[in-house]
């Protein structure tokens, strides 16, 4: 009989093993899934997980895809560590893209060296300001930041759609909802010839290093962690909950805004209605998959991007439907959350004692499963 027992302390081993177990289980399920679809499972898994990154071009595309997700996820991890439940990275990214584009369009006929830095700065400020609204409402009106940030996402999306159909529309664009193409001076330089891998990668690496040091080595980072774990303790120690909550929201907004500005001035090169296929939402999953640790987030972000690209390869090479991408994302989340049970609980195999046959045993709730 299997019995689930609470551990006295969360297992350190399983904190590391559970993601690996989840990946292994996902692969096994994936193999079963592929063979039931009439594919050779080894070949299908190869096409799904290896072929997208077989060559340097594929790796560069993986990184391009990761950039906005990771920038958002680093910021979100900071919020979640402080138990500030910011769901608004998507809206903050969109506002970054929108305000950044508004700035970029001032430089359409210019080769000023300020074009790009100002565009990025405008994006950061746009994202931070959008998060600032949530911070203000949380601190001054005691509003629930989950609801506020979700609703701000919709407002940001509609503002963007309005702008791209209105003031920021390309005057020479036959009334189609797109801005003019940005000038070369605004476009983020490509780091490696022949790829789309742009300066945004440097921002990701900087953000990774800064967030890591900030959380684990600075006093404010310590305060944030304490606040997240125990509000009362943070208050006792005299840490200002208001200041910390505002800080994490603004930093996250700034990073998401940078992500948005980097997308429009990077791979897209203009403002379009659909600058994000939900990067801000994917980043929430990535932040938790990565256990709110910058390094874990980086790995999780790479994995999410790989699943996404694998889905495209499966369509091109195996003629499988795109729903397969969603299935894999769902599988890995499901297994990860299930495997996490092992961190706090242990499974005990208990053989029923022989003399218990005579007794009538009523299964308890945990045993019933």
């Amino acid at each position: 009989m299997l019995k689930i027992e609470a551990r006295a302390q969360p297992s350190k081993h399983w904190a590391y093993f559970s993601p690996i177990l989840a990946v292994v289980l996902t692969l096994i399920t994936g193999a079963i899934l592929f063979s039931s679809l009439g594919q050779n499972p080894v070949e299908a898994l190869y096409i799904f997980f290896i072929s997208p990154i077989e060559d340097w071009y594929g790796i560069s595309e993986l990184l391009v895809k990761c950039i906005p997700i990771l920038l958002c996820a680093y910021g979100l991890s900071l919020c979640y560590r402080a138990s500030v439940w910011n769901i608004g990275a998507e809206g903050q990214l969109l506002m970054g893209g929108l305000i950044g584009s508004a700035m970029a369009l001032q430089f359409v006929h210019s080769d000023s060296i300020w074009a790009m830095p100002l565009t990025l700065l405008a994006g950061i400020l746009g994202g931070a300001a959008w998060a600032g609204i949530a911070a203000f409402l949380k601190l001054k009106m005691n509003s629930n930041e989950i609801l506020v940030t979700i609703m701000l996402n919709y407002i940001a999306l509609n503002l963007l759609v309005w702008a791209v159909h209105g003031p920021l529309k390309d005057p020479q664009g036959f009334n189609f909802p797109e801005s003019a193409l940005f000038a070369q001076s605004t476009i983020l330089p490509v780091l490696f010839e022949g790829t789309r891998l742009h300066l945004g990668l440097v921002f990701v690496l900087l953000a990774l290093a800064i967030i890591w040091v900030f959380v684990s080595k600075t006093f404010i980072g310590f305060q944030i962690r304490v606040l997240g774990m125990d509000k009362a303790a943070a208050k006792m120690a005299g840490f200002s909950q208001n200041k910390l909550s505002a800080l994490v929201l603004l930093v996250c907004g700034g990073l998401a805004g940078l992500a948005g500005a980097s997308e429009v001035s990077g791979p897209i090169g203009q403002l379009v209605p659909s600058i994000s296929p939900g990067y801000g939402y994917a980043a929430i999953i990535v932040a938790f998959l990565g256990r709110l640790h910058p390094l874990g987030i980086t790995l999780a972000g790479l994995l999410m991007a790989l699943i996404f690209m694998g889905g495209e390869m499966a369509q091109i090479s195996l003629a499988l439907p795109s729903a397969i991408t969603g299935i894999f994302q769902g599988l890995i989340l499901f297994y990860l959350l299930s495997s996490d049970v092992l961190i706090r609980y242990r499974i005990k195999i208990k053989l029923p004692p022989i003399n218990s046959v005579k007794k009538r045993v009523y299964p308890t709730q945990t045993e019933a499963q």
Binding site: P267, I268, Q315, I316, A319
Partner: protein
């Protein structure tokens, strides 16, 4: 001996070239903005893709990638198709325009066909159908069938393509019922069944008794069926989603065009073109009429269709007034293609403001 060797060599060479010919399929790629599904814009393109496989058995191999977002992802998918040996690639959504142009620059030997856009290059052609012709005719049907004189229209984005459809439909409705109103709801998405259904319900609440839409899913037809009113399908025949509600549909037919372009690539005569054809070219069609449409209405519509094909009638003929009542097209004039392509105003009879 030498001669024998030569013959064997020649034979081997022939066998090799013959087998390489048999393997040398033309790979044709398709990029779709939504899932292929069972009806709608993408479904219709996919039907034409399947017809290619049938029309060129063993010669053409097709590939599609569905649900590709119109942002940074599109360029990667198009590149991936070009890199993996696809020589002809159809990108079937407006948002793929700039990515298609960008990728085309890097793959000058690959041919691209972009639907609904306006940017072309030596290896990028554009195509679309004059669906406004069908919109006008379905408007005529709606005009006959409406009792409340209010018809509803769900729009995706206020771009010329959609606005043109709304105006053509309104002109058709008002050619029958001069006082009828066309109410418009924008959903700001091409494909979101829940939103489309919501929009349909809000139109029904505003007394619309015939609705149509410029989005991708058949959800509005289902909503109409439930509410007991009429609907006019779009993209493909959607009668199976609401047998009683579905009157007819404005339908694209890409089969002939795709076949022609593939033939041209195979023959080496493909050239970048801007293709915009309607009923006359077989690109635009009407779905079969439901029994609810009276026979006289059907024959009137068929007669109009014949006139359009013959070039005797154009849906956008003067005199034409905009919403404010200003004359935009004088009596006896026909709107130019340029004016049609840049349409950014409502004609008289459309309710609401164009944002």
């Amino acid at each position: 001996m030498k001669k024998a060797l030569k013959v064997v060599g020649l034979a081997l060479g022939l066998v090799a070239s013959a087998s390489s010919f048999a393997q040398e399929k033309l790979k044709v790629g398709f990029v779709y903005v939504s899932p292929t599904g069972e009806a709608g814009w993408t479904y219709n393109h996919d039907q034409a893709r399947l017809s290619l496989e049938e029309a060129f058995p063993g010669v053409v191999k097709t590939t599609f990638v569905e649900n590709v977002a119109e942002g940074a992802d599109a360029e990667r998918v198009i590149t991936q198709l070009a890199k993996s040996g696809h020589e002809l690639i159809f990108t079937t959504s407006f948002g793929y325009m700039n990515p298609t142009i960008k990728v085309a620059k890097r793959f000058p030997n690959v041919k691209f066909e972009h639907a609904t856009g306006y940017k072309r290059a030596d290896n990028v052609g554009t195509y679309f159908d004059r669906i406004y012709e069908a919109r006008y005719l379905t408007g005529v049907v709606a005009g006959y069938m409406s009792k409340t004189d209010v018809v509803g229209y769900i729009g995706a984005f206020p771009i010329p393509e959609v606005v043109r459809g709304i105006n053509a439909f309104a002109l058709g409705v008002r050619s029958v019922k001069p006082n009828a109103k066309v109410k418009v709801v924008w959903v700001n998405t091409w494909f979101d069944p829940a939103k489309e259904r919501e929009a349909a319900n809000s139109l029904i609440d505003q007394k619309a008794d015939v609705i149509t839409f410029h989005t991708d899913s058949p959800a509005p037809v289902q909503a109409a069926q439930e509410a007991g009113i009429y609907a006019i399908g779009y993209h493909s025949d959607m009668s199976e989603y609401g047998e009683k509600a579905h009157l007819t549909a404005a339908v694209h037919n890409w089969k002939g065009f795709y076949k022609k372009r593939v033939e041209q690539v195979l023959a080496g005569t493909w050239k970048s073109e801007d293709v915009w054809q309607g009923f006359a070219g077989g690109m635009t069609e009407l779905a079969p009429f439901s029994p609810a449409v009276p026979a006289e209405v059907v024959s009137k519509v068929e007669a109009l269709k014949t006139k359009i094909i013959a070039g005797e009638f154009h849906p956008f003929s003067g005199p034409l007034k905009n919403q404010a009542g200003e004359l935009i097209l004088k009596s006896g004039e026909v709107m130019s293609d340029e004016a049609l392509l840049g349409m950014n105003y409502y004609v008289e009879g459309v309710d609401g403001k164009l944002k």
